[in-house]
């Protein structure tokens, strides 16, 4: 079938006449650090969380998501892997649901359907975390260090070069690379990349 794979043709249906016949993060200057690291917010279980205050964790990884963005949802398996791999390495990973109208129940159902249970999830209905970090699209990753510095902001990887276009082979896993660098106390190669996805819904 390999021969068949990349061939194409054009067909015309003919009646014989004898019979009649992106969102891209941009413009506004984005913060290099979270100004107020004391920001706290309830997670969907009702527990108070201060995602920028890291007691023991090496870094806080906020993944901004929306429950109805196909690009955000396509990353669910990678998000699940990130939690399992980097959670055990001392990173605090949080899903931040940014649709102002989403309910806690909807979030819980979404996490179950996409096998994301186990994550700490926050409904950022007033966009407190969006404003603190300057996140613009979903999915977008923001990694903060204990001093509030934003060590990495941008895409998870290069699966989507633009809205509506999906790369067949992922060649750059930027978030993983950044987290591995932090884990190994090395400089991050690219601290800012462009996240491609759905703009964060307006309040």
């Amino acid at each position: 079938m390999r021969v068949f794979k990349n061939h194409c043709s054009i067909g015309v249906c003919l009646a014989l006449s004898c019979l009649g016949a992106i969102a891209t993060a941009g413009e506004k200057a984005l913060p290099d650090a979270v100004e107020d690291t004391s920001v706290s917010i309830l997670d969907i279980e009702g527990q108070e969380r201060a995602p920028f205050q890291l007691d023991e964790a090496k870094a806080s990884v906020l993944l901004f998501v929306t429950q109805d963005c196909p690009i955000s949802n396509a990353y669910a398996p990678e998000m699940a892997r990130l939690r399992s791999e980097f959670g055990s390495k001392g990173f605090a990973l949080t899903l931040v649901y940014v649709d102002p109208d989403v309910s806690r129940n909807e979030i819980a159902e979404h996490m179950k359907a996409y096998s994301l249970t186990g994550y700490v999830a926050i409904a950022d209905r007033r966009h407190d975390l969006v404003k603190a970090t300057g996140a613009r699209v979903t999915p977008e990753a923001v990694v903060t260090l204990p001093d509030g510095a934003i060590a990495y902001r941008g895409r998870i990887d290069n699966m989507y070069p633009s809205l509506g276009n999906r790369r067949r082979v992922i060649t750059e896993k930027d978030l993983r690379s950044a987290l591995n660098s932090i884990d190994q106390n090395e400089a991050i190669d690219r601290v800012r990349t462009q996240a491609v996805g759905c703009y964060i819904p307006n309040l």
Binding site: G11, C13, L19, A21, D68, A74, P77, V169
Partner: protein
């Protein structure tokens, strides 16, 4: 890229002429109820509503205001509403797309803060026909068992065999395809198989259906297809596909994994003619057999490998539709008709082939092509690293 440059030039001219209109209407006066809702309801809502393929609804002010910037981005890019074919000489049915004025209006509305306006001026939502849009089908069949696809990974191409158990030949005027899980089924091409080969291949594969790209059987024929956003249509003037008795239906389906595991059971409704048609029609492929005999041999890295083919019509013909097909490396394709007097007509150009949108296009009325008309097709492939659809990184020679 040629296409994008072309768009830029057109946009420049049109924006220059529409600027006066834009300033004449103060941005504050642009409201959802009066100006934006009619555009969105007419052009977006048929897919952007509950239980349809699009990911979210666009049926009221909040739906649209919440996503104002996203909507503006995709309409400015011409990614939405999706439409990929063009012809300077002919009009296609069911054309989707916004005018420059409509895009400018959305832009002004988003820039000016997205006012809702007087809700008494809100137009009524269009009446959408659910279920079987062409009425109750003559025969409804479904996949015998559900096919479960993974949450992530490469796109899936799989053929499913559905026995039809017909004891006489039938003539198909239309087929309506209903995906079970709209978020994962991207398109499905329909074939019939009279040999039983497909049934055997299905039986030999432990998972429902069998893996292939194409019909996957030697005997039988193509009887249409469905792609995301497509609406079923009757063939014109009583034309019909023959469906021999004893045939199995093959659904050759393309899936996009969605991020979660899903199980698909597709359903198909057939609309049969009461009697055999008095007219016949045929398709012409250029190059034929999906290009399998065209000696395609694309060097790794070649960003514009081109093949052309032509065919002179031996009889007078009336054309009613056109389609194109390519896979990951397809870049652009076109077909022209050179009439016997030498006049060249553009039947179709797809300047920026997107593998994700495989549609058939119906001309608005018949196109008369006299005997002696030469059809010329050109297909261009991009086997470079810049083609993000390229499944080979680094690129490999493709034959």
């Amino acid at each position: 890229m040629k296409q994008r440059i072309h768009h830029c030039l057109v946009a420049t001219v049109l924006l220059a002429t529409s600027f006066a209109g834009s300033t004449a209407r103060s941005a504050e006066t642009i409201t959802f109820s009066e100006h934006i809702a009619p555009i969105v309801f007419e052009n977006c809502a048929s897919c952007h509503r509950s239980k349809e393929a699009a990911p979210f609804s666009l049926l009221n002010y909040r739906d649209v205001q919440k996503r104002g910037e996203l909507i503006l981005t995709v309409v400015e890019d011409r990614y939405m509403p999706p439409w990929h074919v063009q012809s300077k000489d002919y009009v296609f049915q069911d054309h989707r797309g916004l005018t420059e004025t409509e895009v400018a209006l959305i832009s002004d509305w988003v820039e000016s803060g997205m006012a809702e306006g007087d809700s008494s001026k809100l137009p009524a939502l269009p009446k959408f026909t659910g279920g079987w849009q062409l009425g109750e089908p003559d025969l409804v069949v479904s996949m015998k068992e559900g096919y479960t696809l993974y949450a992530e990974g490469p796109d899936i191409y799989r053929n499913f065999v559905v026995p039809l158990n017909l004891d006489e030949d039938k003539w198909i005027q239309a087929i309506k395809f209903r995906p079970g899980v709209r978020s994962v089924v991207h398109h499905s091409l329909f074939y019939y198989d009279t040999s039983g080969d497909a049934r055997q291949r299905d039986a030999a594969d432990p998972v429902p259906g069998f893996k292939t790209m194409g019909r996957g059987t030697e005997r039988g024929g193509a009887i249409g297809g469905w792609a995301l956003g497509g609406t079923p249509k009757m063939l014109p003037d009583g034309l019909a596909y023959r469906l021999p008795k004893g045939s199995d239906l093959i659904l050759s389906t393309h899936f996009h994994p969605s991020g979660k595991e899903e199980t698909e059971v597709s359903t198909v409704g057939f609309y049969f003619a009461d009697e055999p048609p008095s007219q016949r029609f045929t398709g012409i492929q250029l190059p034929p057999v999906f290009g399998a005999l065209a000696g395609i041999n694309i060097p790794a890295g070649d960003s514009a490998y081109t093949k052309t083919d032509s065919f002179v019509l031996p009889v007078d013909v009336k054309a009613f539709g056109i389609s194109a097909h390519a896979h990951y490396l397809g870049k652009c394709m076109s077909m022209t008709a050179t009439l016997p007097g030498g006049e060249v007509k553009e039947l179709m150009t797809i300047p920026d082939w997107d593998f994700s949108w495989q549609e058939s296009y119906r001309f608005d009325g018949y196109i008369s092509l006299p005997a002696g008309t030469r059809l010329d097709s050109e297909v261009v492939w991009d086997n470079s690293e810049d083609n993000f659809n390229n499944p080979n990184v680094p690129p490999k020679r493709v034959r």
